[in-house]
């Protein structure tokens, strides 16, 4: 069953058509990757999906409900979470608070409970903390224990990427949107990220991710969409897409396959 339906989505900035008549759908439990050269409009697709930018035309259905025109936080509350290509952590907050803050959409204790610290509030707070610890322990020993109370700016680059994913997980999403999760990582870390994405699917998340690094894409994608100038130029299994002539042309401008090794 399709968790996400994107129907004839278009977006332009000024005179530039960034996303052009894009349609695709995403099934539950699937890993879909979107590839494309720089400026192909990949990040914009994510921005449209999460409500940061409104589309000019077209429709997006998430779990059968149209989410066009909703605020980003409302969309997140429905079960869609994302990470950013340029990391956007809450740098001066502690690591665990970064994750705990993302529990906002599915917690609901109001001002009264907060001020009087009712038992309901304490229970909820304990749940949030447990959830945050669980999300963080997903990455092994790296982000747990004494690190909980360290400020996020103290983390290394790779750990920041992991923290972003943990933060997104804390919103209890059904669909995770990852924007170039392996950007800036060394080969070893990239490999690890690839495995992680696989594990995420095993935990029941549906995943849509954008990636440059073909090693990541090839390893785990169920399906791949290639974008160029905001248009879908190919869709299918990894193999099908990378062998598609238009894709090769878009990437290299000549007919030569370089990704056949996988």
């Amino acid at each position: 069953m399709a968790i996400l339906n994107v129907d004839r989505l278009s977006k332009h900035f000024g005179g530039l058509l960034v996303v052009n008549d894009l349609s695709f759908e995403l099934n539950e439990g699937e890993i879909l990757s979107i590839i494309g050269p720089n400026g192909a409009g990949k990040t914009t697709v994510l921005n449209l999906l999460t409500g940061i930018n409104p589309p000019d035309s077209g429709d997006i259905h998430f779990q059968g409900q149209s989410i066009v025109g909703l605020q980003p936080h409302q969309i997140t509350k429905l079960g869609m979470a994302r990470t950013f290509q340029t990391l956007r952590l809450f740098l001066n907050m502690s690591i665990i608070e970064n994750v705990m803050s993302a529990a906002y959409p599915h917690t609901k204790k109001g001002l009264f409970d907060i001020i009087f610290r009712t038992s309901g509030w304490r229970k909820e707070e304990a749940q949030i903390r447990a959830l945050a610890q669980e999300s963080l322990s997903f990455f092994g020993e790296r982000l747990v224990g004494y690190r909980f109370d360290q400020p996020a700016y103290s983390l290394s680059y790779a750990n920041r990427r992991r923290l972003e994913i943990a933060r997104a997980m804390a919103t209890k999403p059904k669909l995770l949107l990852l924007d170039e999760p392996a950007a800036g990582m060394n080969p070893k870390e990239t490999l690890e990220i690839t495995e992680l994405i696989g594990q995420l699917r095993d935990k029941g998340y549906t995943i849509l991710f954008i990636e440059h690094d073909m090693n990541v894409v090839s390893g785990i994608s169920d399906r791949v969409i290639a974008l160029d100038y905001g248009q879908k130029i190919a869709e299918g299994s990894y193999q099908e897409v990378v062998e598609n002539e238009r894709v090769i042309e878009a990437y290299l401008g000549r007919k030569q396959s370089v990704w056949t090794k996988a």
């Binding site: 809450f90 906002y104 907060i114």
Partner: protein, 538 residues
């Protein structure tokens, strides 16, 4: 104090919690480095910053459980006005009653509450709200309308109705203003709210003859600069137990208190409640949401935090707290006057919050404490003189550290001064005959027996101020040994300026000293006394 913390390199103490210290390196700069595991790297340094006399106290202090710490401070604040009213303390301070100190204390508490409200908006939510005093004022005027003779024959709504009404109304106005201003980011938000604050002050000054179309005669809404007088007092604290039972007043054991002390305790109770409420708000999903959006409001929004809603919550909370303080303050003073809500008041509040450290509740309270107390201490010429000379000495020690250089500079300046005085008296007898009008305090006398004071010293003193500032700037900017010459010159010139001009006009000097110390503090410790240095770049 801040100066000391930054300039005391001593042996690192070992950290007790057993954290793995991977890259313990000496501090490279004031801003945390990105990419390195800063927290771990800074462990030693954080400990280092806490040595010396004050550092030891701070470390000891932190070993006490939070509950007892708060209890200790509360205990002191509760006992303070009672202790100062005893004969030994009064005679020690050479005063006949403690009303003055209690009034300053109550002002401090009221401003703490206001500063905490501002801290919610600026420190937690990161919204630069420069219209904050307008809420303070709005609530005061609201209270004045509801609980005084102002409207018609006098609407005397009891305080337990009028204050909640006023607080709710002001919070609503905060919410509405917020929803207007929220479209703007950063400095633009600041400017629009500043415009709102100035507008409020102007209207409070001038809305004395407003023509409503359904009324024949113009209406006086604010009584202009004179303000509205004779507001109802809040009869909240009583020393009679039957009143306490009958009206629900707070009963305080049998002593008879002056109104000022009653309001002191009222403000203290309110401060306690506000601190509790704000602390709880901050330590919850709400506070995390605020901090998240202060860090990065787009990321916060995408993480499912309703940023717009939280911003408005912050505005409304800040306005509500300001309103609580505003209505009570007006009831205490018995009047509302526009001048209380001018830009100066705003600047004072901001100075308190920034001085203590944005986002830190104890910091904000300490900021309010210092900022209310320091100007009051400086009103007294003797205290101001002591602060000037001793503070200057401490500053020198902190800057140069106890060293040969310091001794040489001080000794050299002292000898040069004596030599100069000797020469002048030798060559122009009758020149050094001025007697600066000070109260015969021994520090002044020492200084004047060392400085050359001409008979007509006013102009010379004015010039010395200018020359002293120039010498100070030269001292700071020159790097070679000449700086010590300029330093000596600076000391001499400022000593002269103090004796001839600054001590003569304590009211102006007060502002100069407060201003100069704030600028210096900002430069040496931009994050405030208890604030944390934040990383602002990605």
């Amino acid at each position: 104090m801040s100066v000391e913390k930054n300039t005391q390199p001593t042996n690192p103490e070992s950290e007790s919690s057993g954290d793995p210290r991977t890259g313990a390196s000496p501090r490279a700069g004031d801003s945390p480095r990105i990419g390195v595991d800063e927290w771990v790297a800074q462990a030693d340094e954080r400990k280092q910053a806490r040595s010396g006399f004050w550092g030891t106290i701070a470390n000891r202090w932190e070993t006490i459980p939070v509950f007892w710490r708060i209890g200790f401070v509360a205990f002191i604040l509760i006992l303070a006005p009672i202790v100062t009213n005893t004969t030994p303390v009064l005679s020690l301070l050479d005063i006949s009653n403690n009303d003055f100190m209690v009034r300053v204390g109550a002002t401090f508490l009221a401003f703490s509450i206001l500063a905490i409200g501002l801290n919610v908006v600026v420190g937690y939510a990161g919204l630069l709200d420069l219209g904050y005093v307008a809420f303070f004022g709005l609530a005061s005027y609201g209270y004045a309308y509801l609980s005084s003779d102002f409207i018609g024959a006098g609407v005397h709504v009891p305080y337990f109705i009028s204050i909640p009404v006023v607080v709710a109304f002001t919070a609503l106005v905060g919410y509405l203003l917020g929803s207007l201003a929220i479209r703007l980011y950063g400095d633009y938000l600041a400017i629009v709210t500043l415009g709102f604050g100035l507008l409020f002050f102007q209207l409070a000054q001038t809305l004395t003859r407003v023509r409503f179309f359904w009324l024949e005669r113009p209406v006086d809404l604010t009584r202009g600069p004179n303000g509205i007088n004779n507001l109802d007092a809040i009869p909240l604290i009583t020393s009679r137990i039957e009143e306490s039972i009958a009206y629900g007043y707070i009963y305080l054991f049998g002593s008879t208190f002056t109104p000022t002390i009653k309001y002191y305790f009222l403000f203290l109770i309110m401060l306690g409640l506000v601190v509790l409420v704000v602390h709880h708000m901050n330590q919850s999903r709400l506070g995390r949401g605020w901090r998240a959006m202060r860090e990065d409001d787009l990321a916060a929004e995408v993480m499912g935090i309703p940023v717009r809603h939280l911003k408005l919550m912050a505005f409304a909370t800040g306005a509500g707290i300001a309103a609580l303080a505003g209505a009570t303050f007006a009831a205490w003073q018995g009047n509302v006057v526009p001048i209380r809500y001018n830009v100066l008041a705003l600047i004072n509040l901001y100075a308190m919050v920034v001085l203590g450290g944005l986002g830190s509740l104890p910091g904000v309270i300490i900021g309010a404490f210092i900022y209310t107390l320091l100007p009051e201490i400086l009103r007294n010429v003797v205290y101001a003189t002591t602060l000037f000379y001793v503070g200057g000495l401490i500053g020198l020690v902190a800057w140069l550290e106890p060293s040969k250089r310091l001794v040489m500079v001080l000794g050299g300046t002292f000898l040069a001064g004596l030599l100069l005085k000797f020469l002048v008296n030798l060559l122009w007898p009758g020149f050094d005959t001025g007697v600066a009008p000070t109260e015969g305090f021994f520090l002044n006398q020492w200084a004047q027996s060392w400085l050359i004071i001409p008979a007509n010293f006013t102009t010379a003193g004015n010039l010395a101020i200018g020359a002293g500032i120039a010498a100070l700037l030269a001292t700071v900017s020159i790097k070679n040994w000449w700086r010590y010459v300029f330093l000596g010159l600076t000391i001499y010139l400022f000593g002269f300026a103090w004796e001839t001009r600054l001590a003569v006009e304590p009211s102006v000097t007060r502002i100069l000293v407060v201003g100069a110390s704030l600028v210096v503090l900002m430069i040496t410790r931009p994050q405030g006394l208890l604030g944390k240095l934040r990383v602002e770049i990605l």
